[in-house]
Amino acid sequence: MSKLHIATSINGEPVEFLADPSASMLDALRGPLGLTGTKEGCGTGDCGACSITVDGRLVCACLMLAVESEGHEIGTIEGMAQGDHLHPLQQKFLEMAALQCGICTPGMLMASRALLEKNPDPTEEEVRFGLAGNLCRCTGYDKIVRAVLETAAEMRGAA
């Protein structure tokens, strides 16, 4: 199968790459694009470790074809911090120990950011349902939910 040429934008920068027609966006990110911050936990859309945004919408990169990124805005964990300035969610996850092994963390952060963009003042239940597509086996979710709620409160205060 010959590869296709794709032109897209990743974390605000224009990117061109070649992709197998059958390659997933996750494979493209982790392979030719060298963006390994997006993790693979299942490859079947069940764990959320590969969460990215496409035109601002949360998507499982393992369920999307690389060729579908043509002409769209892709956001990955690598674009979340601005230089050495962490996103408030990243900072709060660190302060509140909302990660243990850290493998689910990039996906959790992407999903949390997407959640807060849609709903800046979520209840605990809304956070729990908002993150229900992201498995974490280490934390029992407690500290993650608290970190998201607390970041939301801080971001509302700052806004």
Partner: protein
């Protein structure tokens, strides 16, 4: 240490590896690539049980792009009649688990492997390998495997003089159990069943291996111990340990499941044959089919008590499901099930049963949760029959310091009773519970306790002072849950420097002394201990250097707040010398500052936990929801409280999954039917409430900071606590896990 006001110990500092992990920069095993690298893929058995007559790899080898093929002939064979142990692992089973030898013992068992220029080519080549199987009848469940006419997995294995699927036993006893039951006013005996559950780490197994022309091997992999990877790979490939460098990648969860290897020896042989670096990554389906899980169990527990609740005798019989090769964690249920109670007469027996499932691996307090499930449910039933509060009944029987444990040692300064009391006095336990909040919904509350041994063992650490006066600590333990944060707190505290100036790295097998696995709730205990000893040596050295500069005795120099100071007025008047100043002068004044300490650590006293849970049952749908959860645990001392809480919260949620939703489903051919996260149902965020940890900090006197292991005890009580709560809600007792909606509904329908 405890009277001191701590600056860092006990503080929720930011972990040294934190920024890397929240920005996606941290390097996990699957993130690694190498120039010239090829991909390895494993061919797995399509049968649950089959003799392997022959393997023909010629077509695969001829496929363009294929660089190497390996089979059982490339892995060192350990003959069946002689056991070769590495820790608790028998290499006879390990070599057969990594690559099937005489037989494929479960669906998904590795049979051959290919290295090729891409994953796709490797997978295609696997499909071209011709394996001549003689398909044999299979057996999955314990009850079936121990029947007299069961298909036998290992013909050479004998039990009571006959070929059998019982591959091992373990017996602990104290007193005279029959005489004990004779004295009892009440005796309850029940049989319980639990299903295998997977550790469920989110990161699949992965490695990259490079075999160089000089025969030296480098392995980057995800594991709970780089030294274990080195030793097992050496045994299974015949390459000397000194020629293998195992570099620990960041690990995306393990829970015991990454204390053994699957891919590394295969990748080494593929790399050796192909002359190329080889990368292998399991799919989730491979992880679910061929790695882990914890054993399923069939347990009978009988407990006898006096009217006042005093337990006089206990008997446990535990059949554990080893999977296709022997090795269930018998010491879990056999040793732990009654360990928290002072019972004069105990007989506890375990059986290791093989069947055609993947070989079990350690999972958090291996074997203990399923034993506690049985014991703590029977105790609940006795307390009810006697009209006693279940916590009062436990308080009557708790072990204390000075009591002899059934598994041998005498308990030191333990805090089990306090965990029960703290739950008893917790507002959760006395909070009113509306048992019938809505039509069709019932609520209940349950409690249970648990025990885990904890461990010490080998640990190495280096503490080096950089020329600019910062601190670099290197440990030999992969950091699964934030252990770097605890160690940096300890070293910063002792040195009296800001914790951000202490960086903690994980060394590889070539750069740090031998360190045993991250497991057994041992790493924070052991590494804080060696880090303390190393830091104290460094401080001794710093004091000497200051003494030399001031031309006074080293005894006349004290170390305080990161500075050398003259100790008292008689020592003379000198301005303090900071760590930075001493470090800057280091190379003219005695050379580099740093040391390595390695110890076989002891004194890791056991851990105890008592939990309380409220559940709500939808009677029509059979759905059990956890509404509130409080977990009290004896933690000794929390070096970094948030990560200790995290261990408790994570363990509890895994226990909730075990109790309510997780299980393997098999089809008629013995194949796992739910090898994806969609169907193997681990708890998600919306399935659970906040988990309230109650940390009892009563320092372990055998540790410089009072640390006690914490990672495993929290998964021991939830199974029983939830079953007891469901009973409280429904008046129906479940003897089988998981209490998943179809099972709860079926049971309620049957009960009318």
């Amino acid at each position: 240490m405890n009277e001191m006001s701590n600056k860092w110990i006990g503080k929720n500092t930011i972990r040294p590896d934190g920024a890397d992990k929240v920005t996606g920069r941290a390097g996990y095993a699957a993130d690694n690539t190498m120039p010239g690298m090829v991909w390895g893929k494993v061919l797995r058995s399509p049968h649950a049980h089959a003799r392997i007559r022959s393997i023909d790899t010629s077509k695969a080898e001829a496929l363009p792009g294929v660089k190497a093929v390996v089979t059982r002939d490339d892995i060192v064979e350990f003959p069946l009649d002689k056991s070769v142990m590495l820790g608790i692992q028998d290499m006879r089973w390990m070599c057969r688990n990594v690559m099937a030898r005489e037989k494929a013992l479960f669906h998904g068992h590795a049979v051959a492997a290919v290295a090729a220029i891409s994953e796709e080519v490797a997978a295609h080549a696997c499909s071209l390998i011709e394996v001549d199987y003689e398909v044999l009848p299979h057996v999955i469940e314990i009850e079936d495997a121990i029947k007299p006419d069961a298909p036998i997995l290992h013909e050479w294995n004998q039990f009571e003089g006959k070929p059998s699927n019982i591959a091992g036993t373990m017996v602990l006893k104290t007193g005279d159990v029959e005489a004990g039951f004779a004295e009892a006013d009440i005796v309850v005996e029940r049989t319980f069943k639990t299903r295998p559950v997977h550790q469920g780490y989110i990161e699949p197994h992965a490695c990259t291996v490079s075999y160089a022309a000089d025969g030296r091997v480098t392995i980057w992999s995800s594991s709970q111990g780089q030294f274990m990877v080195r030793a097992m790979t050496s045994l299974l490939t015949g390459i000397p340990q000194s020629d293998i460098r195992a570099i620990p990648a960041e690990i995306g969860g393990g829970f015991g499941g990454k204390t053994i290897i699957y891919l590394e020896p295969v990748a080494v042989m593929l790399s050796k044959k192909s002359g190329r670096p080889v990368k292998m990554v399991m799919t989730r389906e491979e992880v679910q089919r061929a790695t882990g899980p914890a054993p399923g169990s069939l347990s009978t527990v009988k407990i006898g008590a006096k009217k006042d609740g005093t337990i006089v005798a206990a008997k446990g019989t535990f059949y554990l499901q080893a999977g296709g090769l022997p090795g269930s964690p018998l010491r879990g249920p056999v040793g732990c099930s009654f360990a928290q109670y002072a019972i004069p007469n105990i007989l506890s027996v375990g059986f290791d049963v093989v069947s055609n499932r993947s070989k079990v691996a350690a999972y958090r307090a291996p074997g203990a949760p399923l034993g506690a499930f049985a014991t703590e449910c029977v105790l609940d039933e006795i307390a009810q029959a006697l009209g006693l509060d279940p916590l009062e009944m436990r308080l009557k029987n708790t072990v204390k310091a000075g009591d002899k444990a059934i598994y041998g040692p005498t308990f030191g300064a333990i805090t089990f009773k306090e965990t029960v009391e703290s739950i008893k006095h917790h507002p959760h336990y006395s909070a009113p519970l509306d048992k019938n909040p809505r039509p069709g919904v019932k609520r209940g509350r349950g409690v249970a306790s648990g025990f885990w041994y904890n461990a010490g063992g080998e640990s190495s650490v280096q503490v080096n002072i950089t020329e600019d006066g910062n601190v670099l600590v290197t440990t030999g333990h992969p950091d699964v849950g934030g252990s770097r944060a605890s160690i940096s707190n300890v070293v910063a505290e002792l040195l009296g420097v800001d914790h951000a100036r202490v960086n903690v790295m994980i060394g590889d097998t070539q750069t740090i002394g031998f360190s045993n696995l991250t497991g057994g709730s041992r790493v924070t205990f052991a590494s804080a201990l060696v880090a303390t000893s190393a830091t104290e040596k460094v401080i001794g050295d710093l004091r000497q250097r200051a003494a030399k500069i001031w031309n006074i005795d080293a005894e006349a120099v004290k170390w305080q707040d990161g500075m050398a100071l003259p100790a008292g007025d008689n020592a003379g008047k000198f301005p303090p010398l900071s760590l930075k100043e001493l470090a800057a002068k280091a190379n003219e004044m005695g050379g580099p500052i740093g040391t390595q300490v390695q110890l076989n650590t002891t004194g890791a006293d056991p851990g105890f936990a008592t939990h309380c849970v409220d559940v709500e049952v939808d009677v029509d749908l059979g759905i059990v929801r956890v509404l509130r959860y409080t977990a009290a645990q004896d933690v000794g001392r929390a070096l970094h409280p948030a990560y200790v809480e995290g261990q408790i919260q994570g363990g509890v949620v895994q226990g909730i999954g075990w109790a309510l939703s997780e299980e393997y489903l098999y089809d008629a051919k013995g194949r796992v039917d739910n090898a994806a996260f969609l169907d193997y149902r681990m708890p998600v965020c919306s399935d659970v409430p906040m988990i309230e940890p109650v940390m009892l900090e009563i320092p372990n006197p055998k540790h410089p900071q009072g640390v006690r292991g914490v990672g495993e005890a929290p998964i021991v009580p939830p199974l029983a606590a939830i079953a007891n709560a469901v009973h409280d809600a429904l008046g129906v007792r479940f003897y089988e896990l998981p209490m998943s909606p179809p099972k709860v509904s079926a049971r309620l329908d049957a009960a009318g």
